[in-house]
């Protein structure tokens, strides 16, 4: 009976998909040995990169897709997380148990301040003010001569997960850790989006005035989502610092924020799988096309343009439509 008090399938409820999700994660977990068997170990690193950007894009999708808040400065939080790991490593702190949560905390704190100011504005002005803050952090990093300035700061060794039988220096192990973190982030975001807070966030995207009129605290909800998104982006940054062995101001360049936005829109803004699908498709297209032609950017642009024109709500929309149809069919069968 209590089940009926909490509607499971409102318009704002987002399903992550059924059994195929487990199949997908099983396939992803089996990837490193498979790649090794066919002699393509190098692609383990590429796959890790995809997972890390999937985390970052999923976090951006929380505010951009579900919240309708188009942040053009999300790379700043990735960069801040990366720099936190880099600076701590520079000071001799190698434990991931310390540096990764620290990265999330620092990025979350930065998002708390930036969000509190930026959420005063709306629409295009919000886009631009988030960009402004990201640019400030970018130039701040450029000016940090003690931490490499323009050239960036090398992170010579990957963080250590003391107490776990995992050596992050090994590419496959690092991939699995990234996969576990991606799964945790994805599950967490799914819960959040389908929670009362997530519903308010989506409702405010549709009509802020009405949500406020019915007693929803729009600012608090949007600010909370902004901070959570920032903290998760910080985690992605921490992983990226470890993967690249380098943190540099380029991580916070506005073009990086733009690329994250493009990933989310390509995959499907406001769809649970939007961020991860977009990140994977974007990075894999980049990888594939650059192997085929030196003019790969032209082809990438043409493909993106085709997606805008023919799949208006992104690639995840295709999955979604399929998923809903299946669910409806099942519901009809039960009735």
């Amino acid at each position: 009976m209590t089940e009926s008090l909490r509607p499971r399938r409102t318009l704002l409820h987002h399903r992550a998909g059924g059994a195929w999700v487990w199949a997908l994660f099983a396939a992803l977990a089996a990837l490193p040995p498979l790649l090794q068997a066919v002699g393509l170990e190098f692609y383990t690193v590429v796959a890790t990169r995809v997972l890390i950007f999937a985390i970052a894009a999923a976090s951006l999708n929380l505010i951009l897709g579900f919240g309708g808040l188009v942040s053009f400065g999300h790379a700043a939080f990735v960069g801040i997380g990366a720099y936190t790991v880099g600076v701590l490593a520079d000071a001799g702190v190698a434990s991931a148990w310390v540096s990764w949560p620290a990265a999330m905390l620092v990025s979350g704190a930065a998002a708390a301040v930036i969000g509190a100011i930026s959420l005063r504005t709306r629409g295009v002005y919000f886009i631009m003010i988030t960009l402004a803050f990201a640019q400030m952090f970018h130039y701040l990093a450029v000016s940090l001569k003690a931490y490499g300035g323009d050239d960036g700061l090398p992170v010579p060794a990957r963080s250590a997960l003391n107490g776990l039988p995992v050596n992050l220096a090994d590419d496959a192990s690092f991939y699995w850790v990234a996969l576990v973190l991606f799964a945790l982030v994805f599950a967490g975001l799914r819960r959040l989006v389908n929670s009362p807070l997530g519903w308010l966030l989506q409702a405010a995207r549709e009509n802020e005035t009405r949500v406020a009129a019915t007693g929803g605290r729009v600012f608090a909800v949007q600010w909370t989502a902004f901070v959570v998104a920032g903290a998760i982006a910080g985690l992605a940054g921490a992983l990226l610092a470890n993967l690249n062995g380098l943190v540099s101001p380029h991580l916070m360049h506005w073009s990086q924020s733009g690329q994250l936005m493009v990933m989310v829109i390509l995959g499907g803004a406001g769809a649970l799988w939007g961020g991860p699908v977009g990140a994977a498709v974007f990075l894999l297209l980049e990888e594939l096309l650059s192997g085929v032609t030196i003019h790969w950017q032209f082809a990438l642009g043409a493909i993106l343009l085709a997606v805008v024109l023919f799949a208006p709500r992104g690639l995840a929309d295709l999955f979604d439509r399929f998923g809903v149809k299946r669910a409806d069919a099942k519901g009809a069968a039960n009735a």
Partner: protein
């Protein structure tokens, strides 16, 4: 001596601000009237610069090259509007961002295919390569004076076009209430194409005039595009007056802080601190300016819509 430095930097700031205005004017009109976020606006600036460089390489005089670049880019811009961008007006901002980002990739790569990876050289015309003595002790490059002159002339011309002609009336109406304007029978299609063509022409003018001062290279449009967006947001979207004020503010703050700030810092701090801190504060300052403006006036200085 210091006063001369300040005057020189003020002129540099004015020159840069006016060039930013040429970009921002088209951007703010396209944004204000058609509600289109055109990230590829900077690519038109790049195309203008490349066309001018190509015309000069083919033996044209500087004047002819600039005119050819302006005409060519305007045509290209209108073609782009008719074939692609007009499909995006009814779409949400996110689709527009993705589509015009895709366009940036394609145009950058297209330019690279035609003209190669190496930056092109665009020389100042010989007649304007010398300095002019404006005041005793104040020597200023003649070419930069020409840019200031052209920029001012275009700003005045654009102001008259927008405030004194029927066409300008439509544009202003479109910026303040698009739906009503269309309902009142303004030929929206032709108006949009024309606005886009003029925006592209202004981009090409800025690109071909700045070509000799900066390098003509792939990707030159993106960094200046961000500045142009800063300008129109500070000024208030859709407002020509706002674009002019915003452009001059950004031009002066950017140029001034780059050269004057380190000098000021040297007075109060050690040279070492001044040389590291100066440039980064200078780079941050325009974004601080924008954030501050938006903090107190969340819709910019001169919002076009009420």
């Amino acid at each position: 001596m210091d006063l001369i430095l300040v005057a020189e930097q003020a002129l540099n700031g004015l020159q840069f601000g006016l060039m930013l205005f040429l970009l921002a004017a088209g951007l703010t009109l396209v944004f204000g009237i058609m509600d289109l976020i055109n990230l590829a606006h900077g690519s038109l600036y790049m195309i203008g610069a490349y066309l001018a460089a190509a015309a000069i390489a083919a033996g044209a005089s500087f004047l002819v090259a600039v005119l050819a670049a302006v005409a060519g880019t305007a045509l290209f811009g209108m073609l782009l509007e008719v074939t692609l961008l007009r499909r995006l007006y009814q779409r949400d901002h996110l689709s527009q961002v993705l589509a015009t980002f895709a366009l940036i990739l394609m145009l950058n790569e297209g330019v690279r295919m035609i003209w190669g990876e190496q930056p092109l050289l665009l020389n100042t015309p010989a007649a304007l390569s010398g300095p002019v003595e404006l005041l005793p002790g104040l020597m200023y490059p003649a070419y930069r004076l020409l840019i200031i002159g052209v920029g001012l002339a275009v700003a005045v011309g654009l102001y008259l076009l927008v405030t004194r002609t029927r066409w300008g009336m439509w544009v202003r109406a479109g910026a303040s209430n698009r739906a009503m304007t269309t309902a009142m029978g303004v030929p929206a299609d032709r108006l949009f194409t024309a606005v886009f063509g003029i925006g592209a022409a202004l981009c090409a003018l800025a690109g071909s005039l700045l070509g000799p001062l900066l390098a003509v290279q792939v990707g030159m449009g993106e960094s200046i595009l961000i500045l142009a967006f800063v300008v129109i947001v500070i000024g208030g979207i859709g407002s020509i007056r706002g674009a002019l004020v915003g452009a001059l503010l950004v031009g002066l703050v950017d140029t001034g802080s780059r050269t004057l700030l380190p000098a000021v810092l040297r007075q109060v701090a050690s040279p070492e601190v001044a040389s590291t801190l100066g440039p980064s504060i200078a780079a941050i300052l325009i974004y601080v300016l924008m954030a501050a403006v938006l903090f107190w006036k969340p819709r910019g200085l001169f919002p076009a819509r009420g």
